[in-house]
């Protein structure tokens, strides 16, 4: 079920009403949330519910075993069960074909022909997200940072809670399980901030991102016939398309969760207002970047084992982060570019003894991010390199506009989105808390205006970009 669908518009109020009718028993509310979450997910493909149930059951059981185990060795053994099972599932469903294909290609370069090893595997929506969520749960128990859950319904709800099930934010057990295992309350602040964030998210996704996507798709679909200026504009549009698409999704997720009394962690914090790439990663897909930092970078030794190991860890973390997004060399290179520039930044800061760049840092950061997005968006490595070559050939003739209405709509909505971001960014109040500033009447007016903007500018996209990950 998509957040921007009629089904969700019906589903959300129904679950909301029944949920608060059950306010006297948070356990009954959890049962409702669990059933609703499975309906939400099953709407897409009920067959893959078995994977979520398996993953939930595995970590519920392993979590208790880790806690009960005596001695480091036994704890580690149970942790390995969780790691191998979760990563194994991810490996089969997400990476098997990639590695099989890469193996066959590398063999053929040595003159050995290998039969086609790839399989017809469907990638279950959200598998990368809930796998990371359950992994962090087991690792946190192993690190003695949280207690294992003894409430099976609560734990299953933690894994599958519908607002964050298919594309995050990747919630930590330490934040979400205590909320699930306790009574939730709804207050005016949660309603206002939740409603505001849901509608801002819808506007970001349905109006801005989807309109930008029309232009981006038309150019990237025929990248070989476009000149530098068109490819550059399309890449800039894509940078904002993916931002508004994913942050819009996160806003709807966080806003929806608030209506059920949950506080999710922030996932985006105006990433394009960053002076360094390091800062960008503190603002972009924060639940993933902090996950990678806490469970991968730090596990590899972080910056505690000397400068060379630090750079290696940064690079490795970002390469794996890239691979997390998808089984393609494009994503690996995307992660590699970020890892490389993060390492270079670290070196520059320590050599120049500075903590950040001046205002030019905004431009530098945006350019690095922009170049890396080409690998993210291009269908394959060959096309990515063609696009980059064309952009840097400085063949800046006339710009391909395509349908002028679509182009102007995209530009106008991008400007509105940028101004809204700038206003909230400069106010120093997080978007997550912004709705509380408004009276009921003002909030209703703002929501009404957004509804009208959606009526005038909605564009139907198949999916959210991050669903493919």
């Amino acid at each position: 079920m998509l957040f921007n669908s009629l089904e969700y518009l019906i589903f959300l109020p129904i679950v909301f009403i029944i949920y608060w009718l059950l306010k006297n028993s948070y356990k009954k509310q959890n049962i409702l949330l669990l059933i609703s979450s499975y309906v939400f997910y099953g709407w897409w493909d009920y067959r893959f519910l078995s994977l979520i149930i398996f993953s939930s059951f595995l970590d519920y059981y392993v979590g208790q075993k880790i806690e009960e185990a005596t001695g480091e060795k036994n704890k580690k053994r149970w942790l390995l069960v969780s790691l191998c099972s979760n990563l194994g599932l991810l490996g089969v469903f997400k990476y098997y074909n990639f590695f099989a294909d890469s193996f066959a290609s590398s063999m053929s370069t040595f003159g050995w022909e290998v039969n086609d090893l790839t399989l017809n595997i469907i990638l279950p929506v959200g598998i990368s997200f809930y796998t990371f969520q359950t992994l962090s749960y087991s690792i946190d128990i192993y690190r003695n940072q949280i207690k294992a859950s003894r409430d099976i319904v609560g734990f299953f709800t933690f894994v599958s809670l519908f607002p964050q099930l298919v594309a995050g934010p990747i919630e930590r057990a330490s934040n979400l399980i205590p909320q699930i295992e306790n009574k939730r309350n709804l207050n005016v602040t949660l309603i206002k901030t939740g409603v505001f964030q849901i509608f801002i998210g819808l506007f970001r996704k349905v109006a801005i991102a989807d309109n930008l996507g029309i232009y981006v798709d038309s150019v990237y679909g025929n990248y070989d016939i476009h000149n530098s200026s068109t490819l550059l504009i399309a890449t800039v549009f894509y940078a904002f398309q993916i931002y508004f698409d994913f942050s819009g999704y996160s806003d709807i997720a966080i806003g929806s969760a608030k209506l059920f009394g949950f506080n999710f962690n922030r996932n985006f914090n105006f990433p394009y207002f960053s002076k360094t790439l390091t800062e960008f990663w503190r603002r972009w897909h924060m639940s993933l970047s902090f996950w990678l930092r806490d469970y991968l970078y730090i596990s590899l030794g972080g910056n505690r084992k000397g400068i060379v190991i630090t750079y290696r860890n940064l690079l490795l973390t970002m390469l794996i982060g890239g691979l997390w997004h998808g089984s393609s060399w494009n994503f690996v290179i995307w992660g590699g570019i970020h890892g490389l520039f993060l390492s270079l930044e670290k070196y520059t800061f320590s050599a120049l003894k500075i903590k950040t760049f001046n205002a030019f840092g905004y431009i530098y950061t945006f350019i690095v991010v922009l170049i890396s997005w080409i690998f993210f968006r291009a269908p394959d490595l060959q096309s990515a390199s063609t696009i980059i070559t064309e952009i840097f050939s400085f063949n800046y003739g006339s710009l391909f506009i395509g349908n002028i209405n679509s182009f102007i709509n995209a530009l106008l909505l991008l400007s509105i989105g940028f101004l809204i971001d700038l206003k909230i960014f400069r106010s120093d109040i997080p978007l997550e808390d912004y709705g509380v500033r408004y009276s009921t009447v003002r909030l209703s007016v703002i929501v009404s205006v957004i509804i009208l903007m959606l009526c005038l500018f909605y564009s139907t996209a198949e999916n959210f970009i991050y669903f493919q990950f």
Partner: protein, 314 residues
């Protein structure tokens, strides 16, 4: 959730519905006022222009961008209009044809894109291109209601009629794209010298044979719309209908064309298939891209078509 919070929540919902409904109507009627005066641009201008002159025109062309770019109406008549619009299909065209005055004597050319008739995914959503006239033109409203292609919300939020078009309408209101009094709807494509190299490259890679199969079936929805035109031809004895497919650069898939010709014969409609008219000519100057002819190609084709039409009358 206590009663105070419930009250607050209901207040937000009620106010939002009320305010958004009021603002929607305000905006909708303002946009109506503006759009009625717009006669240029693809957003609504061309449709307004067509609706204003459709029953006083001797020759009309319906179809998609290929009709728009390939049929020079001036070659046929001093009083003609090309209603070809980018991206539309048979649902859009059938609806517009059904708005014509039945008794009026006219030559109506319907451009057929054979591929669209065999597209299993065709769902008639191109009819949404007429949504700016929803609840403003009876025949179009009825066709849109029957099509089931409009959002449920459209009955509550009228502004959705202007989805994706508002900016274009406002732009054309303040700054018309062209002088509509001298515009006949035909938009030829010219190829600049800088575009020639790219055009030749694209043509050299052209292969419109990708999804060719003998098993193709006519899309039932497209067929329904075609039958609706057929019914209209029966109630309009003064009109002459001509169904034409204009040339493509390199269409190796002939099975759909053959099937479609047979279908048209069964329906008793005059259909001329010129998909491969210039296939062996291999003159790139006739083309803008593999599916669109250049101005030169379009004018040559229009003259050829006129000759054929005159010959068929004799």
């Amino acid at each position: 959730m206590n009663s105070e919070i419930l009250k607050k929540l209901l207040k937000i919902v009620a106010l939002t519905l009320l305010i958004s409904y009021g603002l929607d109507k305000l905006l909708f009627f303002s946009l109506n006022k503006i759009s009625d005066k717009v006669m240029t641009g693809q957003a609504i201008g061309k449709l307004n222009h067509f609706l204003s002159l459709k029953d006083n025109t001797a020759f009309l062309v319906f179809g998609n961008s290929r009709a728009n770019r390939h049929i020079d109406v001036n070659i046929f008549s001093d009083n003609g209009y090309n209603m070809g619009v980018d991206g539309v299909g048979i649902a859009y065209n059938s609806t517009l044809i059904n708005t014509l005055e039945e008794d009026k004597k006219q030559l109506v050319l319907v451009h057929i894109d054979t591929k669209n008739f065999f597209d299993a995914d065709y769902d008639g959503s191109d009819i949404r291109g007429l949504k700016t006239k929803y609840q403003r033109d009876d025949k179009i409203t009825q066709a849109l209601d029957n099509s089931d292609r409009l959002s449920l919300f459209q009955k509550f939020y009228y502004c959705m009629n202007y989805n994706g078009n508002a900016i274009g309408i406002i732009k054309n209101y303040f700054k018309p794209s062209y002088d509509y009094t001298t515009y006949n709807g035909y938009d030829p494509l010219s190829v600049s010298s800088s575009q020639k190299t790219m055009r030749d490259l694209v043509l050299s890679k052209a292969n419109i044979n990708k999804d060719c199969t003998d098993k193709c079936e006519v899309n039932p929805l497209a067929l329904d719309y075609l039958k609706s035109i057929k019914s209209f031809t029966e109630t309009s004895p003064n009109k002459t209908f001509l169904f034409v497919t204009s040339p493509m650069y390199n269409d190796d898939c002939n099975s759909d064309n053959v099937k479609f010709s047979a279908l048209m014969k069964d329906l008793g409609l005059t259909y001329w298939d010129y998909t491969n008219l210039y296939k062996n000519k291999k003159d790139n100057s006739y083309w803008k891209d593999p599916t669109h002819m250049s101005k030169k190609g379009a004018e040559a084709f229009s003259l050829y078509l006129l000759k054929k039409y005159k010959a068929s009358k004799n």
